[in-house]
């Protein structure tokens, strides 16, 4: 690993290749967040290629982390304290998704100039398929990634 260990914070490991930036986007980590964020893309691991994200001095709520599952269902999140992993968990896809993804249907009312937040129900977790609460359009894979807000 070419990036040094972090003292306190989280390590999001086993992110599918090329998804690290999207993961940060989902977690609303951009610009000056007051701590160090390291991002490694295309790292070789025992299970093939992966991306890794390390965020120092920052802990995320489990619910927040679970959003990652939408684009990185294989990800694991390690909580680090004093250079040691104190907690390790796999991401879980929530039952409902609100305000993270935009509906891909250009004729959906949520894509018009209306005061609503896009909402989806998760109809399948493997593969991830979500359904718009408004127009009932189903989205999966790339369609979800392309429409992350």
């Amino acid at each position: 690993m070419k990036i040094q260990k972090i003292k306190n914070g989280i390590v999001i490991d086993h992110i599918p290749c090329g998804m690290a930036l999207k993961v940060l986007k989902i977690l609303n980590i951009e610009g000056d967040i007051g701590s160090t964020v390291s991002l490694v893309m295309h790292v070789k691991s025992r299970m093939g290629w992966k991306d890794v994200v390390k965020i120092e001095d920052r802990y995320l709520e489990e619910k927040e982390i679970d959003k990652i599952a939408l684009i990185a269902p294989t990800a694991t999140v390690n909580v680090i304290k004093d250079y040691r992993v104190v907690k390790k968990h796999k991401v879980h896809i929530p039952e409902e998704i609100r305000g993270i993804v935009r509906c891909m249907n250009p004729r959906c009312i949520t894509n018009q100039r209306e005061p609503v937040t896009p909402e989806f129900r998760v109809v399948s977790k493997d593969p991830v398929i979500i359904k718009c609460k408004y127009c009932e359009r189903e989205m999966s894979g790339e369609e979800i990634i392309e429409n992350i807000l």
Binding site: I109, T110, E114, P115, Y134, E136
Partner: protein, 304 residues
């Protein structure tokens, strides 16, 4: 059970809910025909928000409200309202909600009825949202079949024509399958029912491009219009449209009590010769829009 409820998607109605709608609709028939008077909805106001043209849906809702002694306000030409000034649907709905007891909405964007239901305190009935849902049409279609055969389960229903773009057939297919009918999809290759709709059906439907294959077995022929605009080549359209035409001669091979339905308007998918046969039910079906909508209004307003 129905009081205050929104009717946005057919998928939100259980079999029991549908049975209740049919039962109330049956009782409404004499009132819908004008044979009996009713003041069931006296003092109640229906707001019709039609952002898109529609004759049958809007007028049958209006007729339904009037037949039950209620009144109607609304518009069918949004260019003459504040919407043309850029008002959001959410705001229009909130205002109209404060003027009325129940709202019917028809809007070109999908999901608009769901949005309206969120912003309105009173019940909202979806009168068609873009390519999305049109639950009252589905209910009147089901009611027509139910009236004819006394139930839906086990019936063989052929859905014919444009199964790709027609929203009516999508929700009808779902509801028929949910109620246990056996579905046959008959359409040209280009206008096949989309996979995401077929995936939601309880049993895999039989697909064919030839009506003759199934003509003898069917209880119901549900015919839809094949639109010329769907075909890049006009000669192809002519060829295809001709082969999905229901004529009297073809129906001679059908079961004696088989019925022919159509959401109307028809162009030439059903020969006028069929109108006078014992099979024709499309005008009855159009009329059924009134008692079914009367039933829904009475139910969501909590008077029955």
């Amino acid at each position: 059970m129905f009081k205050g409820r929104d009717i946005v998607s057919i998928k939100e109605l259980s079999k029991e809910d549908m049975e209740i709608v049919f039962e109330v609709a049956r009782e409404m028939i004499p009132i819908a025909r004008g044979e009996r008077k009713s003041d069931l909805l006296e003092g109640k106001i229906l707001a019709t928000l039609f952002f898109e043209p529609s004759t049958r849906t809007r007028l049958s809702f209006e007729a339904a409200m009037h037949r039950l002694g209620g009144s109607v306000i609304g518009f069918s030409n949004p260019s003459a309202t504040s919407i043309s000034k850029g008002e959001t649907l959410a705001d229009t709905v909130r205002v109209m909600d404060s003027y009325s007891d129940v709202i019917v909405i028809r809007h070109p964007y999908e999901g608009s009825a769901r949005l309206a239901a969120e912003f309105a305190e009173n019940p909202v009935i979806n009168g068609g949202d873009g390519a999305g849902q049109h639950p009252t049409q589905t209910l009147l279609d089901l009611f027509t079949i139910h009236q004819e055969f006394g139930g839906i389960e086990g019936l063989k229903v052929a859905l014919i024509g444009d199964l790709k773009y027609g929203r009516t057939v999508h929700s009808l297919a779902y509801a028929l399958s949910y109620l246990g009918a056996k579905i046959y999809l008959i359409s040209p290759e280009l206008l096949r029912m989309p996979n995401h709709i077929i995936r939601e059906l309880k049993n895999k439907p039989v697909e064919t491009d030839n009506i003759e294959d199934v003509i003898e077995e069917m209880d119901v022929f549900y015919v839809t219009r094949i639109q010329k605009e769907r075909f890049p080549d006009p000669t192809e359209y002519k060829k295809v449209a001709g082969s999905y035409r229901i004529a009297e001669e073809l129906l001679q091979k059908a079961k004696r009590d088989a019925i022919v339905m159509h959401p109307l308007p028809r162009v030439n998918e059903i020969d006028v010769d069929v109108d006078n046969t014992k099979h024709a039910r499309y005008f009855q079906q159009a009329f059924n829009g009134v008692p079914v909508r009367m039933a829904l209004l009475a139910l969501v307003l909590g008077v029955v």
